[in-house]
Symmetry: D2
Subunit: 386 residues, 4 copies
Amino acid sequence: MDFSLSDEHQMILDSADKIATKFNREYMLEHSKEKTFPQEMWDEMGDQGFLGISCPSEYGGAGMGVTALSLLQERLAEHGVAPLYFVVNQGIAIPVIGKHGTEEQKERWLPDMAIGTSRCCFAITEPNAGTNTFKMKSLAKADGDDFILNGSKLFISAVNHVNKMLVVARTESYSDHDTRKKGLTLFVIDVDTPGLTYDQMDTKLAGTAGQFFVYFNNVRIPKENVLGEVGKGLNVLFDSLNPERIIVASGAVGSGRYVIKRAVEYANERIIFDRPISAYQGLQHPLAEAKALLETASLMTRKAAWAQDAGENAGEFANIAKFTAAEANFKAADAAMQVHGGYGFTESMDMLDHFIGARLGKIAPINREMNLNFIGEHILGMPKSY
Amino acid sequence: MDFSLSDEHQMILDSADKIATKFNREYMLEHSKEKTFPQEMWDEMGDQGFLGISCPSEYGGAGMGVTALSLLQERLAEHGVAPLYFVVNQGIAIPVIGKHGTEEQKERWLPDMAIGTSRCCFAITEPNAGTNTFKMKSLAKADGDDFILNGSKLFISAVNHVNKMLVVARTESYSDHDTRKKGLTLFVIDVDTPGLTYDQMDTKLAGTAGQFFVYFNNVRIPKENVLGEVGKGLNVLFDSLNPERIIVASGAVGSGRYVIKRAVEYANERIIFDRPISAYQGLQHPLAEAKALLETASLMTRKAAWAQDAGENAGEFANIAKFTAAEANFKAADAAMQVHGGYGFTESMDMLDHFIGARLGKIAPINREMNLNFIGEHILGMPKSY
Amino acid sequence: MDFSLSDEHQMILDSADKIATKFNREYMLEHSKEKTFPQEMWDEMGDQGFLGISCPSEYGGAGMGVTALSLLQERLAEHGVAPLYFVVNQGIAIPVIGKHGTEEQKERWLPDMAIGTSRCCFAITEPNAGTNTFKMKSLAKADGDDFILNGSKLFISAVNHVNKMLVVARTESYSDHDTRKKGLTLFVIDVDTPGLTYDQMDTKLAGTAGQFFVYFNNVRIPKENVLGEVGKGLNVLFDSLNPERIIVASGAVGSGRYVIKRAVEYANERIIFDRPISAYQGLQHPLAEAKALLETASLMTRKAAWAQDAGENAGEFANIAKFTAAEANFKAADAAMQVHGGYGFTESMDMLDHFIGARLGKIAPINREMNLNFIGEHILGMPKSY
Amino acid sequence: MDFSLSDEHQMILDSADKIATKFNREYMLEHSKEKTFPQEMWDEMGDQGFLGISCPSEYGGAGMGVTALSLLQERLAEHGVAPLYFVVNQGIAIPVIGKHGTEEQKERWLPDMAIGTSRCCFAITEPNAGTNTFKMKSLAKADGDDFILNGSKLFISAVNHVNKMLVVARTESYSDHDTRKKGLTLFVIDVDTPGLTYDQMDTKLAGTAGQFFVYFNNVRIPKENVLGEVGKGLNVLFDSLNPERIIVASGAVGSGRYVIKRAVEYANERIIFDRPISAYQGLQHPLAEAKALLETASLMTRKAAWAQDAGENAGEFANIAKFTAAEANFKAADAAMQVHGGYGFTESMDMLDHFIGARLGKIAPINREMNLNFIGEHILGMPKSY
């Protein structure tokens, strides 16, 4: 066992600190307000080589793994500036294309993604499917050399800030099969493909990226845009689950540290009776407890990333990491809210959005119940409960 | 012991049901969006005699007590339409004027308040005083037959929707006294008095009433607007604390029931695997637990109101009621959020605002730590911890 | 609504105070150590008329209801001396005989029970049935004018301290029926009936009453000992559920108050740094929170008793009361343990047994999951989850 | 970062598995019942070289660090057989003698300790000092070449199973100093030194080792038995704190895994309605949550051990590890108790003792409040709260 960071990993953290100094929380808030793309920060990250961090080096990337990405996200979140795009674009799209794409696809898509001029969102969730991916209804029917896609998605982040979309759809309808697990196919499509439209949802979430409804109305997709094999999208998807959970966990850990730091600063300065309010155990202990839980969750996140990078099954670690990081971040945000009193509910204090974001972490990208089901079944060996 | 409601109290609940059918959650949301005053609902409540519910009958009111007001608030909240104005106007301003006002003052102020053409807000909180009221700095200096008031307040609700303001200020500065408890005086002033200005705060809270900064710049107040005795405002204030906590607790109980009802409806309809998601104990049990806690908190709220109306010291009950109702309401809202998944974060689902409002209940009008301090010291006999 | 106690109810509390002064915690501990019957206390309670409190007056009792019994239990528990026998004997056996017994049975059994010379235990639980009563296997087959009972029970309290046993058994075997709810019959039998044997279980619970395995080996029961109708025992059982939950809830509330009182006394006296440890919010707040929850649970317990005595369906209230009282008592005991540090684990401090007893309250006489299931299904209208 | 175990560390785990197969839970229970020393297991551990695991190799040990010791304890606890002696003897006594002892002392004491024929307990706690070590009253006065020690200790584990005692006493009385931190001295004494007597306390804790009162009545200690410098015992003590917390955390992690394993086995087999009770989320999720928290706490424990072995300040990690491991173990034990229902309270089920032991972890060897204070002050930079 060795808990120290390699020089390379330490450098990532140091660079993240620098980037966050230049493009700080205030910068993000400006872009968050109108949901505009943080182009200057993105460019800076591209200049530092971070956008291709998870891209194989033969296509212009750094060829680093989930650990590197995860450390970057954790540290940016610690400054309150972690970009959501990283989770899907660097965390999912680039790696799955790198692994499942044909040589032609990799050459076509990756180099632009590695420098950030191309970005990809991820369209999977459907209204009546929720966590049950198999029930999705979006259907891509073969039509000559193309597929014709019809259906709709929702809660798709950042559609208006990207040019590519990784779409999951059925290529055989749900009822055609005795096993529900077949018939899912992945496509990489251009967001401006005719027939693809989208509407911003009225989610009340901070961040520069909005959430969208996406509609597919006879969207024609050439077969060379199929990622992996037709009908075997599940394998590709499974490769994306753990990295997503790990990077989201990293963001949660970083966010938790950020709000605790803010709460401590505030509480150390605020004197109502004769001492800083941070001297009262009623406020100090919840912050301390959240800190303890965050730091333990951070270690599990790193272990999950380490296992993933080592090519091992990271499922156990990734699920525990996501679960504990989200719970700890929420405890941190809740404790921070309590410390701020009424001020916590003002926009200028910029605390409520962290609280809401932390609450979101309990349901996305996987809800806590499914996390616990995974642990109960796959780690502890109890029967399926749902 | 008798837990049944009197006919009179039952009638209040029935009327509240009717009002809420006419002026339902959607009506409130419209007014909440732009923070406009819900005049039609207010008029209807006036027509039903509810606006003077806590006003002595000789001044045009119904002469009922906190129990009546509390039941009304609880039931309106159960429909998602409880007006914040009730807490301060009917719950604090009218009763304290009724008790501490001179005959002249009561005749001057109460009749209009009882029919709703006059409304009063309550200005007490200051930036550096927080829960420590004695540290307030707003100072009203005697000047002939008047007082000249300077200072500022914040988190004052609904200033732009009322014409009167109940102000607490020091008439002797903090340092002039060996005991900090003297020197507070209450005034009732017109909101349009010269020198009084206000700015809306950027609180991110739902509801038709906004929160405001209020600035007093040489505001001249005639001595006949002093409520109670000069320098003895504390006695008046103390009379307002328990009713405020009781009515807020009632609102929390009602809100909790509302979100649980919403969550149950949603969860009973949503089928992701093969059963409604409400059939999973992971979702059902938290709702059931919140329900249990809400109903017990409701009983304590009623006991507190009963004690208050009986002229007994309701402090113990009011503090426990406020504490348990706020905690239970938050648990309810949190469980409801979880049930709604991503949809809970959309504006159209109208659930996140309840969650935020429930979170607010843990810090206002008294925070949970001060509630616990009260219980620890005054009920259990432990030493002051702050 | 009226939260005041009647003179009669107040008198019960006052008498309980007196009894507990004479037969105090130390008295109970002596009998608890060797599981001997607290005869002197029982006699005193008989002299005060408390043993027949729930027995109709025509059979020598006071004819009072669950409220009276519940107040008595609550107050005795507040002194740490609540007898378990009350729950089953006064809370279940006497009332169900009073309601479902024939005239002959009532004359035969009740007068002795009302003065305490006869006592009854309650034998229902079986190893593989748990909370699913219908799965019980004990079978009583008709044989002329008798039934022959075979089977076994466990977790039966106080068998060696009573002379009667209320037994639930199937008179038709489980598979004989299309609906599982039929075929249960209740019997009142003498503990010394041939074929009935028992063994003390190795439960590690404080209290004067032990828990037992009970074995029925061709136990012959005359038909006149059937309580209610053959095969319709369920109706009788249902009448016992709510009173049992209410009285257990009362005991939990009282116990919670007792441990909090003990913890406050201890913490107020113990000075480790420069203040009593009760001045630290880390210890004070959990005690205060437990107190708040206990007092709200107490109100629900009283409401349940009130509804039960009024002949209304008390199920909703009784389940919430049992759930909240057990949770609050455990929180109280846990907070009290924390305050006592290492001393809490010594026998001489007499605190650990309260903690274990409070833990037991989360699983008996109904576990918290079944409580929540009841609330979820029967109060909130969600589907059965098990 | 590297989360894999070295071959050496893996071997320790494998050996622990073997030892625990031979000296299993049943073996421990036999010795626990009468508090007899588990000599055969001890000998086996000696044969395997584990007793000298933390002893420098020049004195007959393996010269391994806290990581090795911690892994051993974690794994033994996973089998329900972790010996308490390890915490103090291998975790504290041997390492501090190894670090602070003179050459003569090391040669005199360590070789016997390394093979297990000599064992040492640790006497520090006093009645009125609690977590405030500085307030201790035991006083050792210089007298020629000796010190004369008077005073008393309590909660001293295993006194009757050891031959040596590491004692902390003041060599200058509390009031003699302006700074309270001076005047503490450590001694290593023989348990059979004249004037040293002890009495077993009535702690109700499982395990083979009892807790004792220890009395010093003019106990004469030669100066060559002073460990470290006179009056500077604090430095030595500080070296023991983190290892103790780490090893205790390891034990808690292992115990938590053990009770979860037991609960899963039980719940998978118990069918009350139509499924194993482990299929209900009400029971499954708490076990899964405890598992998640345990595994994250385990990582922090390993990080703390790693830092300690690397000679870095492990305080931050050790405190978080102890806190989170104790909390997680208690959650695990509580969830396991709930799963076992009434059976959990029987001696034959052997579950209640784990629950009580887990509860103990929240107050010993440092209580959760002091853990949180450490985190609040020393990690987060908030003021002292006590």
